[in-house]
Subunit: 361 residues, 4 copies
């Protein structure tokens, strides 16, 4: 479809119809007094090895209702350098006016792209990407630190760099000790790294989930099938880049990946509780029927856990997005007790879902 | 998936998980102080020649967010009479508890099913369908009238009854004169009848749009492709069956079919105006850019009409559902004037779209 | 949409346009000289507790390209008995002409529906369902056996009957010993039962996967999202009911559930091998690139297994349906060796995927 | 998702998994001894005002199963000239290796982008785009002619250039007379131009349909809803660029737009006839039932035309893609005659569908 600018045609340009933009944000509740912001801090354009002009990433973010994004072009890999000019700040600069117009928060970032160890790292909240282009990776990190960046390790288990094992190298200890690592990607695209998840818990690092998108997003994510990009949920005081920075430093994030949330119990539990409304509880002779409504765009996969055998309920149960359910629990008259279950797709540590217990009325 | 009741198993039944119900109502604005109710007054179950149990129609209506439905089983054609018992009230009776539980308004109806003329008619708001089962169709109509029914002519242009032409027979004049016809189906399923549309306008009859669904609705309507069933929009004082009846008698309806609305200008114009929010108007030297947001689930297809040639704007323009647009209009500085267009998918008579005119600021 | 029969209108009926039927069969290769038939042996209509007329199940099967189906109405639970007549053979009889016309193989079946133990069983390839309606379940089984039925245990882990554990009762041993059980449902709808899987392996029983559909199939399966019903793949000599019976008795089946196949290695391995074509193998200095094409509608999820550390390749890899891939393997010049992986969604026993090993050229 | 090249990491690169490519070509029959090639001769990348790297267009074409594409970057409008180098041949050069690997025919092209008159023209089958960059548009055309290009007028009714009318200027007569115009875009993206259609017929010019895609194709075309890009069907002797050139010069094309084909009867009629297989004709007392199968991915919308009133059949009928239909025709015993209809979505001139007549057996 026609969409041309031409200096010869300035007059006609003005009446060129703008394109429709339809927003489809996934509904995820705010929690604990914070806003739940949907963010993607790792993506590429033609200014490294992506295949789209930077403004496309803003359009994508707008359509998906993302709050914030960051270009993280490879400092060391600009695939199209023969054709493209070279400042590491260009994708940010080009995208900024479009981001402002569409109210997408844009955070300046760059990817430090090295062989393993230490592998790849993203530095975001930078003020000048060019200053990070150094031969020695330690100098790049030092410069990022100097610019007060938030730095995270990308895809530790990437098979191109760690084909058989996911190791923490002594360089990572050095980086951590120097204050050069604040978080780790727990999920990169479709790849979940359980070691990253465990390291974030043990070493008190921020959990990050990213798309690392290179192609047009629709080539990588099948939205028509209900899929979404991997993202970081940031629990921020306000919807500003400064608030995001503060939340990241203070580890208030969760990772939203496929149908799963990964994060600390203090964040996942209120997400579940705020998503679910108990609309009605009906008690007949020996049955309690609980009518619930899921106001979020999240699924919850429940699995029965240890419980009083007199209380009889589902073994496995899926609460679909934006759905209403009547859940029946058989319980002898005059008896109470607890309905216990694990939400297996809300992971508080590798392989361990959120445990919930509801006392019957 | 398991979903069994058995007298032997009453105890276990109670804990049978209820099914998820996800609602996807198309957003259409209220107008003129009325609620815009989404209704389907023509459908079948196994109690005539449909293929589903009556409760399925309630589930379908709930999922689509319909406000009201009516079973209109053929009085004269019960395909499965060898297997099924015979009261003409059964589908209503069977569906009523489910409809109450899901808050779908259920209206008792029946289809008087005769050769042409007079063809098929639906009578709704009946109190006893069995009383309409008469050999002489005039007796059926008289009984419907006696029960204070709202009666409408179904699919006048149905090729099984009018294979080459769409005629109004003298029987229809008789029916109209006797007060036995209040409306006509302008659209039945995917079939639009322009003669019906014209007759409704000329004879002051109520415009009706129906699915006439026989199969499971998903077999007839491809929701994944953004399709919806044909329905009647009823502009009612309240969301009650009584209010619907009053609105139908007073001709406050429009027909929603595919991407089109058909109805009187007094209803279509405020639907458009209430759907569209003008968010911002920016004026530069010779261009006015209007940012609009479509808050409805409707499309609007605009076509330029006669206008001052100094005001230059789109020839054709589509406003998609739930989309935001920047529309640029080139206009000489210090000049004002009108932007005129026809909304070609909001039909106020056969082939004639709603005319709109906006005066530039 | 109009679809009426009426004795008064026989003449007009004839010209009623038939409905379009679009077929979307999932492509799964034949193996070992057998045809791979896609079958669903467990479903319901209004003649027990389903919600559709029997012919709907034939339409559904035709659209999905199924080879064979069986109605298995509950002998003991006919929810609509107030309205419907009572022969247990009716759904078969009603559906048979439609099945013949659409070339869907129809197998007469019934569900013996008892409290646990023994729970629910399907008997298929019956000659008279009514003869199975007995007060004593042992008499029902004996009659099914007498009719030479293939009998399988339904959903052993159904939480309505086994809310906390999945037990094999002494009644099941009795049933097995009497030759009354030939198979077990490993998957019922969306519920996979690992105990069933293990029992089939240990006791040499036939693995069965079924939809157990009660609603219109589209209400239970989201085809637009690429989903399909759970089915049994039957490796049959011919596409006939007799061949299906023979194959079932001889345990030549696999279960197709979500993106998984469950079955014996002797069936799953050739499915994978026949699905994948190696189109080209290119060798450069230290890399072998294998171009493969997946000719099937199946996904294959590969996970690296123990291997020579000098041969470097993917950790996890997904081969999507009908896709082409270039898989790169880094290997030192002049060296050969094996690429080993597990196909984690082709399960040969609970939790154990098919192991594959490819020797590099 | 990770997809990085880096000189430091050459070794790891080799094992980087290739991306899956799933092909979804729309099935359209060959006709008249020619191959029906699906081609798009108008598209943009970042090298003019598109937003994707040239290789993305090859990936898109491969996924859609297109036979041939052409980049037609604006000679006069390179939006990103601040960042990008300037040869007008770059998008072709960059895309060529990818096109060869994926077997997509790539044709070198350029868009001569001028104010109206003469407006925009595409020249394809060029040998050197840079030579066309001239101040005077006549020189650009002359150079294109010299390079033996096939030249067509783009979107004559584009509202940015012809806001109220679609005029043929004297410049177009000049261009035509000089042999500088061989075809016209009848459809550009979603915009159909009936004047172009008429001009092609009257002036013996080649009918062209193009996407003119600027964004990632999925942003402009909703494939999940069954949509496709506008394309030119080329009836070529072989699947080569030379054969395409020959066919274009000899006007053997049709335009495939939305659900419509536009072209000469000599091409549209055999497309319909080759798409439809008559599987069975059954005759009962007064009805003939014709079972047909549509082997193509095209829809056909039939509308009854003048006919013997004794032969009674559908008024309107839609044959969906890849569907099977039973079409009933009521006809008195011992009588024969013709079933006449117009295929309203196969247009042989503006507003005029293909007329068909079938003599009953």
């Amino acid at each position: 479809m026609k969409r041309l600018t031409c200096t010869l045609l300035i007059a006609t340009l003005a009446m060129n119809a703008g394109e429709a933009q339809v927003q489809n944000r996934i509904s995820i509740p705010d929690i604990n007094g914070y806003k739940t912001l949907q963010c993607d801090f790792h993506m590429h354009s033609v200014f490294s090895d992506g295949t789209v002009w930077p403004t496309v990433r803003v359009d994508e973010a707008f359509r998906e209702g993302l709050d914030a994004i960051s270009f993280t072009e490879h400092l060391e890999n600009r695939r199209y350098v023969y054709d493209l000019s070279i400042s590491h700040n260009r994708s940010y600069e080009i995208a900024l006016p479009a981001a402002n117009e569409k109210d997408v928060l844009l955070i300046r970032g760059a990817e430090i792209t090295r062989a393993m160890p230490p592998g790849h790292f993203n530095a975001i909240f930078l003020s000048d990407n060019d200053a990070l282009a150094k031969a020695d990776w330690r100098e790049s990190f030092a410069e990022a630190k100097k610019q007060n960046a938030f730095i995270f390790w990308n895809h530790p288990s990437w098979d191109a760099q760690q084909p058989d094992t996911t190791l923490w190298f002594m360089e990572h200890t050095e980086i951590l000790n120097k204050g050069w690592m604040h978080g780790i990607e727990v999920v990169n695209g479709t790849k979940y790294c359980k070691e990253s998840f465990q390291w974030c818990i043990e070493k008190k690092l921020t959990m990050i989930g990213v798309s690392d998108v290179h192609q047009p997003i629709q080539t990588e994510v099948d939205f028509a099938k209900g899929k979404h990009r991997t993202m970081t949920l940031v629990f921020a005081k306000e919807r500003t880049t400064a608030s995001i920075h503060e939340a990241l430093i203070n580890r208030r994030t969760a990772v939203f990946f496929d149908e799963c949330l990964l994060g600390e119990e203090q964040y996942l539990r209120p997400i579940f509780e705020n998503a679910i409304e108990v609309k009605e509880i009906k008690r007949t002779a020996n049955t309690i029927t609980v009518t619930i409504k899921n106001h979020s765009g999240l699924s919850f996969k429940l699995k029965k856990r240890d419980h009083d055998p007199d209380i009889v309920y589902f073994r496995d149960y899926v609460i679909y997005p934006h759905s209403q359910h009547d859940i029946a629990i058989r319980v002898p008259a005059n008896k109470s007790g607890d309905v216990n279950f694990e939400i297996t797709n809300l992971l508080v540590s590798p392989g361990k879902g959120l445990l919930c217990s509801y006392t019957l009325p």
